[in-house]
């Protein structure tokens, strides 16, 4: 017989009251867990979709160049001491701390070529990375081989070329293997070829003009990644494409803020349920507490009994609440939108947080009832008997 045994036996005797507190907390915890799990799933989904927007980090050579373009209208620029990036240096990017967050890395060689009467911009790219970096591309034809090219829609129109035609660029006879559908971007103006082909044409072997990087954005540490890549490539300038990054962050933050706000309200309601029930329980047990005090229990012993009861119920509520919230979200997402369900997984951190939060709510809400119980005058309590 010790104080914990008294707490447990009292809970077992007052099953209905204990169940009421338990239910209040379980509903609160499961709702919070469900909401966080759902938002997590949504976040994953949104990230997945956002990643389809392509590159979100650009690596360009350091330059003293000032861009002379505004609103898509380029007036040309003057470059001073323009250097290109050594292709061999790019392997350093794979050594950064967050290298696992890199979905694709696309080196790009740019050069201007004279085709008939036109000056055109030729881009050498890694077509395997391009599938991730430019998922919006729709190609009529096929990915080119070493002596092939694909044309942007506008370039094909202006040069009057179609799939299968030949094009001479700097004494290299290249075959048009595909034409891009209009993208509404600068890609429409370009001629694309393999990286190595472009490097050969422009005599830029081992060098690249820029690098596009697509970073996976689950808890996206874009700023940290920019810093890490900058450290790895000190001669290059690394930029996050801020609009995309900030857009992603803002979306996530808004969702998180909303979920935390609602969670706070739900937990407040849960704590009020605990407070009211525990106060009622303490009042009902006036005689019992009077006896405890009369036979020599200290105030702290009375508080310990109340806190132990709260800890047992709220700890149990944390465990049950987590699993209920988890299962509800999993089932709910499976019903509402099948593709989300795969993203809800058992999260030990969330489970731990749910239990700790439930315990804290239970203990904090029981503090006042425990204090009141401990202050009970044994003489008054016994006089009421």
């Amino acid at each position: 017989m010790n104080l914990n045994a008294i707490s447990i036996k009292n809970l077992l005797r007052r099953k209905t009251k204990a169940a009421f507190v338990l239910a209040g907390l379980v509903i609160g915890v499961s709702t919070v867990v469900g909401m966080i799990s759902y938002i997590e799933a949504m976040t994953n989904d949104i990230n997945h979709k956002l990643e389809k927007f392509g590159a979100n980090i650009l690596v360009v050579p350091r330059t003293e160049n000032l861009a002379l373009s505004y609103g898509g209208l380029s007036l040309g620029g003057v470059s001073f001491e323009m250097e290109e990036i050594r292709q061999s240096d790019l392997s350093r990017i794979s050594t950064i701390k967050n290298s696992a967050n890199i979905a694709a890395l696309g080196p790009l060689v740019l050069g201007v070529a004279q085709v008939h009467d036109h000056r055109v911009l030729v881009a050498g790219v890694d077509f395997s990375a391009t599938r991730i970096l430019k998922p919006w591309w729709k190609l009529k034809g096929s990915i080119p081989g070493a002596d092939g090219i694909i044309l942007g829609a506008e370039a094909a129109r202006i040069l009057n070329l179609d799939v299968g035609n030949q094009l001479m660029i700097s004494n290299n006879n290249l075959q048009v293997s595909g034409i891009l559908e209009s993208t509404g971007s600068q890609d429409d103006q370009l001629i694309f070829t393999r990286l190595s082909t472009a490097q050969a044409i422009f005599k830029k072997q081992g060098r690249v003009s820029m690098v596009e990087i697509a970073a996976l954005c689950k808890d996206c540490p874009i700023d940290a990644m920019v810093k890490q890549i900058s450290d790895a490539l000190p001669d290059a300038r690394v930029m996050a494409i801020q609009q995309v990054v900030k857009g992603r962050m803002e979306t996530l933050n808004q969702l998180k803020r909303f979920s935390y706000g609602v969670s706070g309200i739900i937990l407040l309601i849960g704590s009020l349920v605990v407070l009211v029930t525990m106060m009622g329980s303490v009042r009902e047990r006036t005689d019992e507490i009077g006896i405890f005090r009369a036979i020599g229990f200290r105030k702290k012993h009375i508080m310990q009994i109340v806190f132990m009861e709260a800890a047992i119920v709220s700890g149990l509520a944390g465990v049950l609440g987590y699993f209920l919230g988890y299962l509800t979200t999993k089932i709910g997402l499976a019903i509402i939108g099948g593709n989300h369900s795969a993203m809800v997984h058992f999260d030990i951190n969330l489970a731990g947080n749910a239990i700790v939060t439930a315990l804290m709510v239970g203990m904090i809400s029981s503090a006042y009832p425990a204090f009141m119980a401990s202050r009970m005058d044994p003489n008054d309590a016994l006089r009421s008997l």
């Binding site: 017989m1 036996k9 019992e288 006896i291 009369a294 020599g296 229990f297 105030k299 005058d377 044994p378």
Partner: protein
């Protein structure tokens, strides 16, 4: 040397507009091993006095010394320790904890004592054997009779072998047979050296004690020592009450 010393204890209740003096300047001494009955009509102040002696109801003025400890000089938590170590309580309505078994109720005062559970259980069994309930350890309070409940309450009060047992109307809810048994049990505990102070309305119960104190309107009006069930006056006191009444101790004539 007296074990319990009550010095000029006064207890007033209520606020300034309705002040009631429940205990009025009572002084008495109780020796170790005495069995004292406190009698008086309802509202006389005997339960208030017992509460004061039980370190549960601080007097408005005066001192309570138990084993030379000035009880109300202790702070509240020390008073709780004092109750646990020095006092056993028996209440009229038993006040067993309904969700604990008989043996668990008896073990209750040991719940806050650092001791092996096995040892606690042994002590509880011993206390239950002493009150004749060794065979009902696992029953719940609602599964035993009133007389048995009172015995459980007594076992709970004596488990930690306190020097003083305070009993408030211990037979108030019992029939004649059970009353007789409980009083015999208290008599045995007293013979084993326990000091007992018992509040009672019953003359029959009071005559099991060896000293009877009478209280009326908060005043101590009589303090008699009894031997061999025959009232033999060893102390007579004439007390002049505030109202100017003179009350003579029983048997004075």
């Amino acid at each position: 040397m007296s074990y319990i010393i009550i010095e000029h204890i006064t207890k007033t209740l209520g606020d300034e507009n309705s002040l009631v003096t429940a205990v009025n300047d009572i002084s008495l001494k109780i020796d170790e091993g005495e069995f004292v009955a406190v009698m008086g009509e309802s509202g006389a102040g005997k339960s208030t006095l017992l509460g004061i002696m039980g370190a549960m109801n601080a007097p408005t003025s005066g001192r309570l010394l138990v084993d030379d400890i000035d009880v109300y000089e202790l702070h509240q938590e020390q008073q709780a320790d004092f109750r646990r170590e020095f006092l056993g309580f028996i209440f009229q309505s038993f006040h067993l904890v309904p969700y604990l078994t008989v043996i668990e109720n008896v073990m209750l005062p040991l719940a806050v004592v650092k001791m092996e559970n096995r040892k606690k259980r042994e002590m509880a069994k011993e206390a239950l054997a002493q009150v004749g309930l060794a065979d009902k350890t696992n029953r719940l309070p609602n599964q035993i009779s009133g007389g048995e409940s009172e015995r459980v309450a007594i076992a709970r009060a004596i488990i930690n072998e306190p020097p003083v047992l305070l009993a408030d109307e211990p037979t108030g809810n019992l029939d004649k047979k059970n009353t007789q048994e409980i009083m015999e049990l208290l008599g045995q505990l007293n013979q084993n050296g326990m000091t007992i102070v018992m509040v009672t309305h019953s003359q029959d119960c009071a005559h099991h004690a060896r000293r009877i104190i009478q209280i009326s309107d908060g005043y101590l009006i009589a303090d008699n020592v009894i031997t061999s069930s025959v009232i033999e006056i060893t102390k007579e006191k004439e007390m002049v009450m505030d109202q100017g009444l003179t009350v003579l101790a029983a048997g004075h004539s």
